[in-house]
Symmetry: none
Subunit: 146 residues, 2 copies
Amino acid sequence: MKNERHNAIRQLLSEGPVVSQDQLRRKLMRRGFDVTQATLSRDIHDLRLYKGPNGYAVPNGSGGNDDLPSLDDVFANFGLAVRQATNQLVLRTTTGSAQPVAAALDHERIPDVLGTIAGDDTVLIICQDQKHASNLRHRLENLLEA
Amino acid sequence: MKNERHNAIRQLLSEGPVVSQDQLRRKLMRRGFDVTQATLSRDIHDLRLYKGPNGYAVPNGSGGNDDLPSLDDVFANFGLAVRQATNQLVLRTTTGSAQPVAAALDHERIPDVLGTIAGDDTVLIICQDQKHASNLRHRLENLLEA
DNA sequence: GAAGTGATTGCATATTTATGCACAGGTTTG
DNA sequence: CAAACCTGTGCATAAATATGCAATCACTTC
């Protein structure tokens, strides 16, 4: 429950500005998540979100991670949201992070992945078909939480 | 004076974490600035500071570029042609303009758009499905004629 | 010089966010 | 199975932040 809600929050933030926890609460309500402001305060702490002049935002890849980052790490740090269009996934990342994220994906040699194309903050992932795409999407959504 | 105080605030933030406006007030006091929390709330707004897990921070991007040119402008200036392939649109732009055009598209937060990937003179726009793609294509075609 | 104007600030208070406590639903342990 | 433990949550409320209003001050205009 909490994990799904966290994903929904990231998704919402990538779609439009959210100025207060109460506004976030109402938006989540429309998506079927009914929680109180107190819970959102805790969620925001968990997700390490920032609040600025334009509302809440996902941290921009500042943490600067070191070694050979695993897919899990890369995702936890830079992944924002995954969306699916038939056999393709569109993965939003923090700005400037799409390339390394795509590299990590390629490196994992996941059989579902036919190939990736990365821009600045978006990775397009091509799968064999819709089924493989769904499969991968679920997997990535879980990684987003870590 | 407000400007000196703003500079002092920036200085303080670069030296160590500041977690609350009241803490900031006390630190400024020691430097000879005696103002209330209300004033600091306004200062923070003026300086467009962000508050996150580690307190206040100066905005991420070096040069706070908040306002992108409007989609209409960008299109009128750099857009060349739109073509559709099932759920994707391929947008040709003047060479070197694909990135800014894609950025403008992203920031418009059009619901039809799952994501964009930009090269040098081409932007690939991924939509949910063929219907959304057609919808968006018509819209963009209109902008091109403007 | 009087009156008008705009900028800055404090005060009081509204609004927003964080948190102590209690409780419900699972899990693990004995 | 019961007891001891976690985790996640709401409720009530504390803490932090934003803001309407009025006062002050530096300038401008007539």
